[in-house]
Symmetry: C2
Subunit: 210 residues, 2 copies
C-alpha cells in the first residue's frame, strides 16, 4: 500500500532530525519541515533530508509574486518534493511559485486549524479551493480533525491531493481522516514525542490498512 | 528630522548587503530584509545588520500560534527591530508573536500591492486594521501608491505606525505617501539599483523635508 503519513518534524537539532528521518523513511510518504528547522539548521537541511525521501517545506509562503518567485528559486535547488503556500495573498502569488517551480509541487492552504482562522481565512475556503483547481497546484491543506469540512472539500477538490493536519495531538483520527477524504495525513507531536516513533508510525499504518 | 526611509534590501550576497547597509545607515530609519536574504545568508545576518541600525524582518509570518511563537523565539535572539506578519491567519497567531516578542515590534499586513490581493485580502483591510488596533502591534503595512486607501487607513489607525511600500519602482511618491499618512516609506529597487544609493537616499530625504 502507498504510504499516507507525512511526518511533521518541527525539530531544530539537526542531528536528532536526520536520525529520526532515517529511521522513519520506510514507513512514511514525506517529512514536513517548517521555518524553525530551516532557520536553525540552514536551508541545506532540505537537501540533506531529501536523501531519506520526500521533503515538504511548510513555509506558508504569503508574499507578492516577485518575492514568492525569489523564495522558490532558492528552495527548489535543495530538492524538495513540495512547498506549502498561502493562496489568500492572491492567485498571482501562487502562479509565481508555479512558474518558478521546475517540478517542485505547490500545496495551497485553504483553511487553518487555529480558532483565529475562523475570522478571515476559513470562511473563504471553498472560494480558495475553486481558485486553486484552476491552477496547476498539486494539493491543498484541509483539516483532519473537522470531518464535515474535510468531506465538503473532498467532494469538490478535483485533482487536488488533500493533506490533512490536526491528527493525533489535535484530535483527528488517522483512519477517519482518510475515510473522510484525506489523501495524506500530517502527524507531528505524536511521532516525535513517542517513546518509539517507528513503532508508532507502523501502528498508524496498520490502523489505516484496516 | 527623524528618518523616514526603510531600505528594502532584497540582496542575497552577504558582502554586498553589509556594505550597502553600512553606507546607508546614517540616512535611513531601518533596513528591511525578507526570506531570500535569510535563506542565503543565514539567520545571523539579522544580528550582523543590526550593527548598522534597525532591522525589520519582512517574513510575512502566517502560521498557527505555536509555529509563530517558535519562529519569533529564533528571530528575537538576533536583535531585530521588528517582524512583519500577516493578521489574516487570525488574531491568535498575531498574539502568539506578541507574547513571545520580548520587545521586538510586530507590524501587521492589512493590504498588499499585487493585483491578486484584491480577491481575498484587500477587501478586509479595515476589519484587519480594527482588529490590530486592539492588540499591542506596533504598526501596519499600507500601500504607498494608493493614496485613497492610505488616507482612509491613516484616519483610522489609532496608535499604529504606517509603513508604506510601493514607493519608487511601483509608482508611489515619497512625499505624497507621507502627506497622505505614511510614517515610514519602504523603498527597494530604487535604492539598490541606483548608481549612487547614498545620493539617492539623501535626495529623497531632502524631498521629504520640503
Amino acid at each position: 500500500m502507498d504510504k499516507r503519513i507525512v511526518a511533521s518534524l518541527d525539530i531544530t537539532d539537526r542531528r536528532v532530525l536526520l536520525d529520526l528521518a532515517s529511521r522513519l523513511s520506510d514507513e512514511i510518504f514525506a517529512i514536513k519541515i517548517n521555518w524553525p528547522t530551516i532557520l536553525t539548521c540552514g536551508v541545506d537541511i532540505i537537501r540533506e533530508l531529501s536523501d531519506f525521501g520526500n521533503v515538504i517545506c511548510d513555509l506558508k509562503i504569503a508574499d507578492i509574486p516577485n518575492t514568492n518567485r525569489m523564495i522558490m528559486e532558492i528552495i527548489r535547488e535543495r530538492n524538495p518534493f513540495a512547498v506549502i503556500a498561502h493562496a489568500f495573498p492572491g492567485l498571482d502569488s501562487i502562479q509565481a511559485l508555479l512558474d518558478a517551480s521546475e517540478g517542485v509541487k505547490v500545496i495551497g492552504v485553504v483553511s487553518m486549524s487555529n480558532e483565529g482562522a475562523e475570522r478571515y481565512l476559513n470562511p473563504l475556503h471553498l472560494k480558495i479551493l475553486n481558485d486553486l483547481k484552476n491552477t496547476s497546484a498539486y494539493g491543498i491543506i484541509a483539516p483532519g480533525n473537522d470531518y464535515r469540512i474535510l468531506q465538503e472539500i473532498a467532494k469538490k477538490r478535483g485533482n487536488l491531493k488533500i493533506f490533512s493536519p490536526g491528527i493525533g495531538a489535535q484530535g483527528g483520527s488517522p483512519s477517519l481522516a482518510i475515510m473522510n477524504g484525506a489523501d495524506y495525513i500530517i502527524i507531528g507531536r505524536n511521532i516525535y514525542n513517542a517513546q518509539n516513533p517507528e513503532a508508532y508510525v507502523r501502528s498508524v499504518n496498520q490502523q489505516i490498512e484496516k
